[in-house]
């Protein structure tokens, strides 16, 4: 979805995440998850995906296990909990479905973050430049905090006045002699110091940013913002494609928990077509590139 108009990208992600969450059908969820993972693999390096999986998989497993422990609805009793409440097949399946939904949505948002860069965000929120500015600054805050925290921690570790080299030698020689409390106190002290540096740095930076924006004339009347995005024929086609898939899906009929209705094959095909759109578009781009190369 990278080369499309930001509105088209937004419509795509809204449709995919919306259908995944609101039509909690097992086949929909599987289609959604597989496509999201494929797309994420195309967008981000594999190492990052592995790191992300190590975070998400335990969460997914916990979700799947938690549901049958607290939801006892269902007619197929598999076993009993120690307190006498039943574990039902329906609740287990629902837990697994909820877990897959969670994984799929998180993966889609991973892709969304890669595709919707801050310039696209500002373009999409063009109706309110102030909101766009605030949102893009806020969204940037967290990764920036993390980067700075790393930097400060490294600097503090290299030259910490809290731990002198003599003290360090003492510590390493007889670690057990210093009480647990004293060691904790020291680490809390360090953490407070790092936090204080982080906050003052960030606040100072905010003032500098504001000054810089003011001196460059941000928000003055005759000035407008420039966006490089256009709405091309390709965007029209993509939007039409998304709309067509959405209509076919919405016409379909699905069961509701605790029953599963596996009818409505058309809707499954439409949803698969919708989820595959970014992958198909990448493949098309690659093919076009290959063919135009061979002609030269």
């Amino acid at each position: 979805m990278n080369g499309y108009n930001p509105y088209v990208s937004l419509a795509f992600f809204a449709a995919v995440v919306g259908f995944t969450v609101f039509i909690m059908n097992p086949i929909f969820l599987l289609i959604s998850l597989i496509c999201a993972v494929l797309y994420a693999c195309l967008l981000t390096p594999l190492g990052k995906i592995a790191k992300y999986l190590s975070l998400v998989l335990p969460l997914v497993a916990i979700t799947a296990v938690m549901n049958p422990l607290f939801n006892h609805r269902g007619v197929t009793i598999l076993a009993y909990l120690p307190n006498g409440n039943p574990v039902t097949l329906e609740a287990v399946l629902y837990g697994i479905a909820a877990a897959i939904m969670l994984a799929a949505v998180v993966t889609w948002f991973l892709c969304f973050n890669k595709v919707m860069t801050s310039d696209k965000f500002i373009y999409v929120l063009g109706f309110s430049p102030a909101l766009a500015l605030v949102l893009s600054i806020t969204l940037r805050m967290l990764p920036r905090f993390r980067a700075r925290l790393k930097e400060i921690t490294a600097a503090q570790a290299a030259a910490s006045p809290l731990v002198t080299s003599a003290e360090y030698r003492d510590n390493s020689r007889n670690v057990t002699k210093r009480s647990f409390l004293a060691r904790k106190k020291n680490s809390v002290k360090k953490a407070i110091k790092i936090l204080s540096i982080l906050i003052s740095w960030t606040l100072e930076d905010c003032i500098e940013t504001a000054d810089s924006m003011k001196s460059r004339g941000y928000g003055l009347r005759p000035r407008t913002s420039f966006s490089i995005f256009t709405f091309t024929r390709r965007d029209v086609f993509a939007l039409g494609y998304i709309a067509l898939c959405a209509v076919i899906i919405l016409v379909g009929d699905f069961g509701d928990f605790p029953s599963f209705n596996l009818g409505g094959g058309r809707a499954f095909l439409a949803f698969a077509a919708l989820c595959l759109l970014p992958i198909l578009s990448i493949i098309r781009e690659q093919l076009t590139w290959k063919f135009s190369q061979s002609k030269i």
């Binding site: 120690p82 409440n85 574990v87």
Partner: protein
């Protein structure tokens, strides 16, 4: 991955636990379970041990009969609350609907898990749609 392994082990432990079966001979009571429009468990003679509560007997009998039943537990008062029998849940028929019980035709004003049964009691569990 370790969290996954732990949760599977936890799950297996929970599944592995089982409850004792109905005691033989001794004290008996009559138990019946009815909803507002049907009978789930017709009046049946059941055995129980000295000191067992209405809730204990219901839970054991539902389990032996393979009927779904779900309860909530309130640790602070150490009582149990029956929220569903046979997938008929409280609040399904309005804000005042839910499961309540009668012993010998009277509705005791204490939790079913605090009411100790005596020999020959007739316990009826009914799904009420308004205050009894």
């Amino acid at each position: 991955m370790r969290a996954l392994a732990y949760s599977i082990i936890f799950m297996l432990l929970l599944v592995g636990c089982s409850q004792g079966q109905a005691p033989e001979g001794g004290l008996t009571a009559t138990l019946s379970v009815t909803t507002h429009d049907g009978v789930i468990f017709p009046a049946t003679e059941v055995n129980f041990r000295e000191g067992e509560s209405v809730f204990d007997v219901l839970q054991r009998e539902m389990r032996t009969a393979g009927i779904h039943m779900s309860a909530r537990f309130v640790p602070i008062t150490n009582t149990a609350y029956v929220e569903a029998i046979a997938n008929v849940y409280e609040f399904e028929q309005g804000a005042l609907s839910g499961w309540t019980y009668l012993v010998n035709g009277d509705s005791p004003s204490i939790s079913a898990s605090s009411y100790s049964l005596t020999d020959g009691d007739a316990v009826e569990w009914v799904y009420t749609r308004e205050r009894l």
